[in-house]
Amino acid sequence: MSRKGYVLFDRNTRALIYGYQTNAIQRMLDFDYICKREVPSISAVINPNRAGIHKAFWGTKEILLPMYKTTAAAAKAHPEADVMVNFASHRSAFETTMEALEVPTIGTVAVIAEGVPERQSRVMAATARKLEKMILGPATVGGMAAGAFRIGNTAGTIDNIIASRLYRPGCVGFVSKSGGMLNEAFNIISRNSSGIYEGVAIGGDRYPGSTMLDHILRYERNPEIKMIACLGELGGEDEYRIIAALKEGKIKKPLVAWVTGTCSPVLPASVQFGHAGAKADTKKETAQAKNDAFREAGAYVPCTFDDYGKVIAQVYGILKAKGEVQDVVEPEVPRLPLDYSKALATGAIRRPTTFICTITDDRGEELLYAGKRLSDVLDQRMGIGGVIGLLWFKKELPDYAAQFIELVLQIVADHGPAVSGAHNAIVASCAGKDLISSLCSGLLTIGPRFGGAIDDAAREFKSARESGLSPEQFVNEMKKKGINIPGIGHKIKSVKNPDKRVQLLIGYAKRNFPSTELLNYAIQVEQLTTAKKGNLILNVDGCIGILFLDLMSSCGAFTKEEIDEVVRLGYLNGLFALGRSIGLIGHILDQKRLGARLYRHPAEDIAYMMPSSDEIQCKRS
């Protein structure tokens, strides 16, 4: 390392980030950007779940950060990174930190996790001391070198970083236990001096990886730092190590100190302050005793925290009068582009949307179907028919209409294994395809010849009736055009062998619909066609399509334009696809349960008829 030992972070420091903390990563890069660093402070990300790349912003541009699964791999590829910011949870903070300490190129580890057991913390700290490495934390936000390097989320938003002038170095070295007071301390120091040079929080635990004294001694050796400020807590002996160093003359730079917790004698004994380390066991460990000892050892100690800023200003004033410090000429700070989501939230920008959705809203506390809360849908027992009403038609259908939809779904749910949809699904399932692929294979057969006649039937019958054709005229016209009337005719069923499904549908409609005009028309048509051939009956597709039109025009919920749209957009084939999916899934699962093997069609069932050699010859003329 070319860097001096007392410098943990400078403008060239590169770090490995353990844990896929995308916000923290972006915040570090944003800080780099406003400090005008030449290279990003992050070399790579360690994400135990995934190797690859992470895309992040560098100003307005985007950059790619390599991502590795292990610390070893990341460190091997990035020997220039000597800091690891460890975002591992309290469960894995120990293993990951110990592993990082063993990596020769890593010199500093910041451990962010709270709740690391004391024994683990002590082992980490002792190991770091043995290897002459530095640990910040556990239980800290980290720290930063102003204008140079930021650990994770230290100092909060960019607005705050700019307000506290952390984009360039000042002359004050700061250390505290509490990470929660770091922003405030940076603010106080920037208002009362030339600002922070470096500030770290060692973490509020009983056994932090490094002590406040460790950092104060670094600040003492760093010629760029002219004064030191620290914020201690009641409990523990850490402050007395600083006091001893002061007395021994190891700290010569002015030190502004304050120990919080002076209120503790007033509080009942059992009140626990925020930090595990903050607990005064002896009189010596009280905040008062420590503040007095600091004062006696020659530190600058305010009477209350309220004067902390004043004392810093006073010390800074003395240094300035001596000519040891100068006010900083503020550099120009590059403007950080506003994040899209933030700008949108504040109403500063707008952008046309790409998609529109008018049926479901999943953004709020509860899912909405066509504006209706899911819990209301369930409370009112709207059923599948009601949900289809909301999501397909955006209407609360009357009960009999919703029940008609359910009747249709039940009727079309399956029609045996031999029909093309089920057959295809079965063959795909036997070929070892998964449920979804097999289902799609079956659904793909739905069309003009299989199950897809509902819309066509509805369309033809509707247009015939609306253009005033008598049933005879309609039949003749279709015959002239050479088109089979959609919805008429069945392979097996006939007048003598009626389709029970059609009878059930008609029975329901007659009982419940206010009117069945189009059905009546269709039955007149059927009388004409069956007179010609017994199997030219109104089939189930035709019956569903026609009854749906009757339902829509008689229930009062649909305008004429809406009915036209339903027919035009092909809503009604959706009923068949939805209903038949039930049966298809059943067939697929059935085959899987049975352990059915690959299906191969028997050769004897195929007429092989090859073209002759003459037929395939291209004739040269």
Binding site: H90, R91, G115, V116, P117, E118, R119, R122, V123, A125, A126, T127, K130, V141, N153, G156, T157, D159, N160, A163, S178, G180, M181, N183, E184, N187, I188, R191, D205, R206, Y207, E233, T260, G261, T262, C263, V266, L267, P268, A269, S270, V271, Q272, F273, G274, H275, A276, A278, K279, D281, T282, K283, A287, C303, T304, F305, D306, Y308, G309
Partner: protein, 441 residues
């Protein structure tokens, strides 16, 4: 209350609830010792015959589950994380089951004062009475560099007086128990057999301590019965951060509340609210008639606000201590604020009351958002706030603070309640002297 191993740091009775280090009942400590120490010391034969009696315990069912209760002589004593029980006359020795029942009848629910803290007796430990002459002392505690084993052949109540004869063995955190030479440090007068037994016991106890998540163990005294080690009195603390690793050994152990403090209805309400959320909501009422009330965001800042009130000579007027942090939702901040407003508007104060809504510069929490719940509660208490002559001082910074502060400023005008509002340009605790009078902004 437990005896601290460093004689100099023996302090007045003071039970401190510590976030990471938490006291456990002697009952649980002894059961864990009996169950797990044999894994490190195969001739440890202590069976852990202990029974715990709480306010709801059915004594006959207890006796049925622990037949030894009716057959031998017994000891009964409170088991509520405080020591010096003998000195306070709370230990009954060499008693029959009938005697124990009589003792329990007299003492269950009794109000006692221990080391200046008064509280109610609710839990008792019953165990076998062990007649003995020898009393040994052993304790293990932790420091930054390792752990310390303390041992003395002069255990019992007098150990503190003869502290200079306590042997201290340091165990390095990285080296472990294998390296220190224990034998040569023990008094040779014990004789070969006991020396061997005690050395093995200390090594095993250390491993039990280190591998079961303890941060403090004290057995004072332990003795020998028929050549086997028996613990008589035991104090222990666990590091609650170890819970994830110790689930199996701890088996959902209970961490009792420190002796004495009884929570008020409002404190219990906030404690309950706190237990149901990922956020942190804390409230301690110090003086319900006090003039100065605080509602401070963040653990670090809340201590400093309380400090400043005290340092400016107003400790006696400080009504509460507490904090809210970790991004509580609107409903939670509403309930928290409401609880404080309700408390502070019950009685009038001749000089009028002040509420300090304080906080440092937040990291990423939207300040305007966190004020929503506060505003709801203040609106609700408009009339009472006016009637009690409450003055409110606000100081906060962080994301969106301008909007948050304007919200509070406008609210003051709307409610007709004086609200002074400051941002990060004003020193964090400046509102304390402003509110207490005698300072100018």
């Amino acid at each position: 209350m437990e005896r601290f191993v460093n004689k100099k740091s023996i302090r007045a009775a003071k039970v401190v609830l510590d976030m990471a280090q938490r006291g456990i009942r002697e009952y649980d400590a002894k059961r864990m010792l009996a169950r797990y120490l044999p894994e490190y010391l195969n001739d440890f034969s202590y069976k852990g015959e202990v029974a715990l009696v709480g306010p709801e315990t059915d004594l006959e069912a207890l006796a049925a589950a622990n037949p030894w209760l009716k057959t031998g002589r017994l000891v009964v004593k409170p088991d509520q994380l405080f020591g010096k029980r003998g000195k306070h006359g709370l230990v009954l020795l060499d008693a029959s089951w009938e005697g124990v029942k009589k003792y329990l009848k007299e003492n269950m629910g009794a109000e006692v004062v221990v080391g200046g803290t008064s509280g109610r007796l609710t839990h008792f430990l019953i165990e076998r009475f062990i007649p003995h002459k020898e009393e040994f002392y052993v304790a293990i505690s932790s420091d930054r560099d390792g752990d310390n084993i303390f041992f003395s052949t002069e255990g019992g109540v007098g150990v503190e007086e003869s502290w200079d004869r306590v042997v201290q063995i340091h165990v390095d955190i990285l080296e472990g128990i294998k390296s220190p030479d224990i034998r040569s440090q023990l008094p040779a007068a014990l004789g070969e057999k006991k020396l061997d037994q005690i050395e093995r016991f200390l090594r095993a106890l250390y491993r039990f301590y280190a591998e079961t998540g303890f941060t403090y163990i004290e057995i004072n005294p332990f003795t020998f019965q028929d050549g086997a080690i028996v613990p008589l009195d035991m104090v222990a603390k666990l590091d609650d951060a170890e819970e994830y690793w110790q689930r199996k050994r701890w088996q959902g152990i209970e961490f009792p509340e420190p002796f004495g403090r009884r929570l008020s209805r409002e404190e219990l309400f906030i404690k309950d609210l706190d237990s149901k959320t990922g956020a942190s909501l804390k409230l301690t009422i110090l003086n319900p008639n006090g003039r100065v009330w605080t509602m401070v965001a963040g653990g670090g800042a809340s201590v400093i606000f309380a400090d400043t009130i005290c340092d400016l000579g107003n400790a006696s007027e400080m009504a509460n201590y507490g904090e809210y942090s970790g991004d509580p939702n609107t409903e939670e901040t509403y309930h928290y604020t409401r609880t404080i407003l309700d408390l502070m508007t019950r009685e009038r104060h001749p000089r009028g009351k002040v509420l300090l809504i304080g906080g440092a510069i937040a990291n990423f929490t939207d300040v305007a958002n966190t004020f929503k719940g506060v505003v709801m509660a203040l609106k609700e208490y408009q009339e009472k706030l006016k009637a009690s002559g409450v003055k409110i001082y606000v100081r906060r910074g962080g994301p969106n603070y301008e909007v948050g502060l304007k919200l509070m400023r406008d609210l003051g005008e709307m409610l007709g309640v004086p609200i002074e509002v400051y941002g990060p340009e004003t020193h964090m605790t400046r509102i304390v002297p402003l509110a207490l009078g005698g300072a100018s902004s």
